[in-house]
């Protein structure tokens, strides 16, 4: 059975399915019991499940050979998005592909590390030279250029972080780490002044003091904190969260799905959810440690770390320790593109494991 479905780790598979199916139930609550949305997300889940099986059945070396093409297709799609993208709230982030709206920038969270892993495994010299480093950052910034233009600074930062994780795992020298950190500190004020749009600055300011603008951008953070806090130890119960059911909480299906969960299931529920995530991650760590070649090791290591990063970022947004950057919660948030990237990631993990 496992062989047929090319699913090589049944524990991982079971936990992924448990969390994603629970995600549908949570979505039912987050959308005010909108069955239509849940069914649509369910079909997306099915599609992504099939995608995962397909990806996992591809030989990891074959996948490695396909990587540059996937990366270039992503770049092309990004360009298309920029020119013919779907306009929403003043940002062009989606394109329609075969009737599905696709946010290519979401998939970059996986394809950029993939490209980097491919690039690092090209040369025999596993040491990262300056030339290699510069080229690595070119790989990261080429798609980011399009994403910033959308404009979507939050996703750009996440892609940058994902890529950085791969470079770090690829064995960048400590010297360069120090240089890059220094550069970052120096350029931080410059970025604040020239790169950030006023609303982005406002988001960051209100994160530190949500009460400064309770009806404006601080509203989201405030309502989310209220939802989490009022959940208490045991939560208000499924479908009983007042913050979510009465729509005080914004973006309930996507950015703030964690707040919906926290309100209805409380602290104890959160601990259980984190245990489920931990089970998935521990399996990924295990598979990474067993990976037989360089490409698969770096890639599955990156994916594992990125998974944790995304979970932390999303939860941090919901509890008000990070500005609202539009990061979805893996396996739980509404939306097709993030689901594709997550299941693509798991597909790769399974593929790596199959090789083991």
């Amino acid at each position: 059975m496992n062989k047929i479905l090319s699913i090589s780790d049944s524990v991982l598979f079971v936990f992924i399915m448990l969390v994603s199916l629970f995600g549908l139930a949570l979505l039912y609550s987050a959308t005010n019991q909108d069955v239509d949305i849940v069914i649509r997300q369910g079909s997306r889940l099915l599609f992504c499940f099939i995608l995962m099986i397909i990806v996992s059945s591809i030989e990891i070396n074959k996948l490695k050979q396909l990587t540059p093409y996937i990366y270039i297709i992503c770049l092309i799609f990004l360009a298309i998005t920029l020119f013919w993208g779907h306009d929403s709230k003043g940002a062009k982030r989606w394109i329609i592909v075969m009737g599905f709206s696709l946010q290519v920038s979401e998939i970059l969270k996986i394809t950029v590390p993939m490209m980097l892993a491919w690039y690092f495994s090209l040369s025999d010299d596993k040491d990262i030279s300056l030339k290699k480093l510069i080229f690595s950052f070119l790989i990261i910034f080429a798609p980011i250029f399009f994403v910033i233009k959308q404009p979507d600074l939050g996703t750009s930062l996440i892609i940058l972080l994902c890529g950085t994780i791969t470079i770090f795992l690829g064995g960048i020298r400590k010297k360069y780490i120090a240089y890059l950190s220094g550069l970052l500190i120096v350029f931080m004020p410059v970025m604040w002044k020239f790169l950030l749009l006023p609303y982005q600055k406002q988001r960051i300011i209100t994160m530190f003091d949500p009460a400064s603008d309770p009806l404006g951008s601080g509203y989201h953070i405030m309502q989310s904190k209220i939802a989490v806090g009022s959940g208490g130890f045991f939560g208000k119960g499924f479908l009983n969260g007042t913050q979510s059911q009465l729509e005080f909480l914004p973006e309930r299906g996507t950015d703030f799905i964690f707040a919906v969960f926290a309100e209805e299931f409380g602290f104890i529920g959160i601990l259980i959810l984190l245990l489920f995530y931990m089970a998935i991650i521990i399996r990924c760590v295990y598979i990474t440690s067993k990976a037989k070649n360089y490409f698969s090791k770096i890639l599955s290591g990156s994916i594992t770390a990125i998974l944790i990063l995304l979970i932390i970022t999303n939860i941090s947004m919901a509890v008000g320790v990070l500005p609202v950057v539009g990061v979805t919660l893996p396996l739980l948030s509404l939306g097709g593109s993030s689901l594709i990237s997550i299941f693509l990631a798991f597909g790769i993990i399974f593929s790596v494991n199959r090789r083991n």
């Binding site: 025999d124 795992l169 939802a227 989490v228 005080f248 290591g301 770390a305 944790i308």
Partner: protein, 614 residues
Amino acid sequence: MRKSFWDFNRVNAERLFNNRFAILILILSVLTIFLIIRIYFLQVVSFKHFDTLSETNRIKYIQTPPRRGIIYDRNNIVLADNSSFYSVEINIKESKDVIKIINAVNKEIGLTKKEIEIFHKKKSRYSHHNSIVLKSNLNDAEIAKVLAIRYKYDGLDVTASLMRKYPHNEITAHVLGNIGYIDKKDLFELDRKKYKNVKYTGKTGIEKYYENVLYGDPGYKRVEVNARGRQIRDIEEQSATPGSDVHLTLDIELQKFMYSKLKDYAGSSILMNPKNGEILAMVSSPTINPNDKLWNFKTDNEAIKKLKSPMFNRSINGLYSPGSTIKPILALNGLHNKIIESKTEYYAGPFFQLPNSNRRYRDWKPEGHGIVDLEKAIIQSCDVYFYMLANNLGIQKMTSFFKYFSFGEKTGIDMPYESSGVLPTNEWKVKNIGHKWTKGDTVITGIGQGYFLTTPIQLAYATSIIANNGSIVIPKLNKNIQMKKNKKILEKENYLKNKISLKDWETINNAMFKVVNQENGTAYWATKNKYNNISGKTGTVQVYSLSQKTDVREKEDIPDYLKDHSLYIGYAPKENPEIVIATIIENIGSGSKYAAPISNEIINYYFDNIREKY
């Protein structure tokens, strides 16, 4: 080849990777632990705080306005009632785009330009309100149409409200007053806590004076609301305590009759029981139908212009010279101060002149009255007699005596905004006119002209004192309250009853009886049947001083607004009077011709149709 190299470097590269991977997982794990601590603080440590915030988010207290008390006449006939109606409202605090909502509503049910205009006016004028009415009196189809689009627009709502209804329309308008939008001035007087979701309050008349009684106590509802403020369900409710009913002393049948007599004129009439101060009828004309007032923001200006100040309550605010109706009191003053004696006769020629002055103070009778005593002077309303009397009394004695009848002061009737009138003195004239008081001023005050101004209610009140031989009652409209006489009033009453001899009271009362019942009395021809023993006194107030040389008082060609005011005070029956009346008709002619016949018709109507009911 590559693979072999991997194998060659395998140990080093793998160690580096494992090292880095471990560091990364460690960092992320530490961050996760911090995050869990953060969540612990939110959910467990600060739970109370956030739970309260969440509750205040979703639960709103809503005040439910009480049903307003009903106003009845003395026979429990409804004078003011409530009827429910539906209106479209826009909550201007919640709605994001008011214009868009108006357009949407307009598309559904059609709004007139005026309705939209009025909405915007109200919105700027009553910005302290949450909701502003866009259209009232919706029919069922309109309600359904608006409700169908309601969900699309925050702040759009259909509300049921109680509408004040006055079944007798304009007949009771000035007495009952009206209710209207609470404006910023009202907020100072009203208990804000009780008027949270209320738009209307009593503005004038009984509605205003008894606002506290009629209003009642609001109830409240605790409701669950969603983020857009829409009510989801009721959690707790305490119903409002309806306002108390008010029973008035008015008799609607008498009121109707009085109104029918006055409606073609500008003026006022008041019929009051001198025993207890109960006002049986009180009309101010012209007036407008109060039922139209609330529907429109402002009453049709054209309609107001056509009428002569229909919003003005002449009964308590109209200031008129008392004219000859003041003569009985002046006579009483003369008797009391021993300036005159009732039987002493004087010669009253066509005019009176002050020593060393050319100015002639004319009598209304061009040829003069000849030999007159006090009684005849009252019966025929001899001006020259009272010019002389006033001149002999002097303004000091006159005003101090008028004060016992509370001229220049409010009567204390249970109506808001009563006027005090003017009881002039030297100081008053210096302060308000800028000149010193002259002897001439004293002379014309003797016939109730000049600066002396009274309201119809003051005249009715003074007449009741005459009818009562000095006993004072405070006029009142509420049947169930006892009007308290304050110390000042009690002192006045004590003086009038004990210091003025009964003989003097009887002298002027007899004279007033003869005004109506003796053939040469000024009101004799004005009264058809005499069986009701009416006493009275006419008054004709000059609005405009005709030239000294002209002897014609009522010229046909003078414009209406310069014509005399016609006044009458009266009471009946002669013994043990039970009603007094005061009537003023503006710019029409003499007291004998208009006010007297109308008043006596009203009195007769009372005795023929109303009295037997009690």
